[in-house]
Symmetry: C2
Subunit: 297 residues, 2 copies
């Protein structure tokens, strides 16, 4: 039933607007295979820009405002012009409305510093159908712990390191994923140089520990997780306590269940850590993923 | 005399070749303002690729083989297909030959992992005239020391952090440069979390210390400097000793002269460190820059 879905690309025109910064901007539909970036765009020459990825379930973009707020927060951390909330929101809906409704699609927002010296950002919205993550969600994933090299205090002491911003400079995250593959694992959990759990290359860690849901504190130099926030809301509605804490690999190993959670794959239970099998609650995982899919905002 | 110079863009076709990997590749001339990157190219969505910048003095690309070797080394560190040395060399000369000879131009090589899932890299060569760096070369630059957050051992212990590779994920380097501007300085010297001098965001540090030329050891997680290597060759010919050492901010502050050296700006003497004036040898700096400009390989 999802065979006819083709990707959609909308390119931001007049990114700085013609007045308030809100009024001038709009998105224009483009061929999804079109070239959109110049050889002088700092987005590609320096990875100098930001992105967000938003899941779209049955035509409904999920946690859209949370993603757009994080998008603006990342822009601030990179000293980029603030992306206009309503413009990008309209862009997301325009992309979604341009295609048939499918069970799961995702939309990616990209916003770069633009052509060097121009001061004019480059931006686009790209919608495509999601891969099938049934196996990851039900059978779980294997992870390895990898050093991220930074102390957990670096976001506070050294903001120019951009930890906690969702930037286009993700080569390290891709290299870590290849290292995981070399070690026969599916994914990575980064650990700080002072021994704290941080996050995955493209996911947040959530543990069920002592019958509570816990996740690393965002001040430790990680991205605030939109999917993790939704899971905490679902958990609280279901009577669970939730907490943000400094967590260690020992906490991960004694957790009743643990997940890497992200916008498109949702909650992927961890079934193996550095080659050692770990338990997870399949029924609880199913309930979490059902709760995520049922979000209406 | 340099008014008529317009940039040149050559785009790599058939990057994986049609046989040996060498025979098929070639570059095609394009409009320098042309869009070259798709919205799905990992070069822009993940900063997943590499680059080199080569200065061209009076039509002569300098240290070209050294740059191409470092290009291939970076590709290896990112598990990218090896860029074919002769193909890229031809691309550089084709770009240079397509434009009038000017005092100083530079050519930038970019090579990305390409469209996600395709396995086919994207690449181009971009030639443009260099800015006038006379003031930086003769009057010097002010720098601030900034924490890079990594230990000096990270390249050995954690190769997935890609320290020492010249990647497109340079958002941190740009953020550090903005932090320097906020502090009223021109440039940055990164310091490791264990207190060693590393490099600038786009330059290598060279000190004249106890009448020797010294630079940080590349094993400390920095890029091997092509311009630094040329300076060491020039220094050795002129009877100076040269050395690679673990250096500290105290070494920098007691140096007789110090420079940030890079391919296009060449040797920029450091006249101020964290707001404190520093001496430098103007005559020696002029001799170094004359030596760099006179390179024939």
């Amino acid at each position: 039933m999802q065979n006819e879905f083709s990707p959609a690309l909308l390119v931001l025109r007049d990114p700085l607007g013609s007045g308030s910064g809100e009024s001038g901007s709009r998105f224009d539909a483009a061929d999804p295979d079109a070239l959109v970036v110049s050889a002088l765009d700092l987005g590609v020459t320096r990875g100098d820009g930001i992105f967000e990825t938003i899941t779209v379930v049955n035509g409904m973009p999920q946690a859209l405002d949370a993603h757009l707020h994080r998008f603006a927060r990342s822009a601030g951390m990179l000293d980029l012009p603030t992306p206009a909330h309503e413009t990008w929101k309209k862009g997301v809906f325009a992309a979604v409305d341009s295609r048939p409704t499918v069970d799961e699609a995702f939309v990616k927002l990209v916003y770069t510093r633009g052509i060097e010296g121009s001061g004019i950002p480059t931006g686009w919205v790209y919608l495509q159908q999601s891969p099938d993550f049934t196996a990851e969600r039900t059978e779980g994933i294997s992870v390895v712990l990898l050093d991220r090299g930074y102390s957990s205090s670096v976001q506070r002491t050294s903001p120019w390191l951009l930890q906690g911003a969702k930037t286009l400079s993700y080569a390290i995250n891709k290299a870590a994923a290849r290292e995981a593959q070399r070690r026969g694992a599916d994914d990575v959990i980064f650990v700080s140089s002072d021994g704290y759990l941080l996050e995955g290359p493209t996911a947040t860690i959530v543990l069920k520990l002592d019958d509570r849901f816990v996740t690393p504190r965002t001040e430790s130099g990680i991205l605030p997780g939109t999917t993790q926030q939704s899971i905490f809301e679902i958990a609280a509605v279901n009577g669970y306590r939730t907490a943000y804490e400094m967590l260690t690999p020992a906490d991960l190993r004694r957790a009743e269940s643990s997940w890497l959670v992200s916008s498109v794959r949702n909650a992927a239970p961890i079934r193996e850590i550095d080659g050692e099998a770990r338990p997870f609650d399949a029924g609880l995982t199913e309930a979490i993923n059902a709760g995520l899919a049922a979000r209406t905002i």
